[in-house]
Amino acid sequence: MISNLLRDHPLDREFDYLREKLADLGAPPQIDAALQKAFRKQHSHSGRATRFGMAGQWLAPGVAIVVSVAMCTWLMLSPFFATLPLLDRSTDGSATAFIALQTLEQIALEPNPRLIETQIPHMLLSTMGVVISPDRADESLRAEVLVSAAGQPLALRFLAGSNLK
């Protein structure tokens, strides 16, 4: 048993010796310079992001309010909305509100929109994701579609009596 232990001691001593010889060995100094550079790069980015983030945090609500007010004013003063008789109809319960099919800006800028009354088959609605009872799949809904001069649908509303909940 003692001979076994003694037999292994030289190996332990060899490792101790190697460890001792390597003890002062460190990474070359040029790594330090590369790390400093990486650190500066990383934190200049995050510093800018933080500064922008803080400024944005304070400015965002104000900017949102100003933009909203400007949009509403612009829409109310727009000749299209000022002369549109259709808005009244949705308030008396005879029609739903308009569902925009294009952006408000695109609708507002349309020089010559037309309103067309039409029938929309339930099947077409189901392709748009509206849940339709299968036993009423062959029925249709009355709707009004606002179209541009070129015939592009701009907005849509359903009329009273069309059973759309």
Partner: protein, 220 residues
Amino acid sequence: MDMPLSDANLDLDLLRRLRSGDHAALTSLYQRHQGSLYRFAILRAGSTQVAADVVQDVFIALIENKLKFDPTRGALLSFLFGVTRNLILKRDEAERRFLPIARENHDNDANTGDNDMIDPRPLPLEKILADARAEQVRQALLTIAPHYRDVLILYEMHDMSYVDIAAICHIDIGTVRSRLSRARAKIAALLGADQTNQPANPTPPTTELRRPVAHTKQEA
């Protein structure tokens, strides 16, 4: 009065400060761990250039917050050893793609249970130790297979516990024990053969008495 932080807590504190942009924390972390990682990488890869590149990559990944260190799973140094080892493995893998076919044939022939021994490849290595005895041990380490080398270096040179080595190398503790035991036996055989000027013989001399690795280090 401020209590001194334990090593683990100090590392955590430095890491937190590093992430918040504290330059001094980077310096402290680097000074604390670069030596160990560099020495591990040199013995593991056998090249000072590879070791330097790998240590740099480890710390840059730390700076750029690309490493997912979980302090509940071990110390930062163990984690960094694992990252270092993975980077070296990736380099080994890339290097292996360019090995000549002759080497593959040699590996196929070595099916006698000793195919864990690999030929020492010529490495663009500066002589880092101006000491024949230490250099002999370092060369012997390079001769054994990498999965034995990992375990042996971490245990013998860095005092890592079996648990830490298991986590670093992604193996279980039983495998750590067996690899350590076999690695020591191989190194003992290599050094013994070298010391008597005999050709390296993968089979230990029959007169050599071996015992299991002395488990004097903390296992948990």
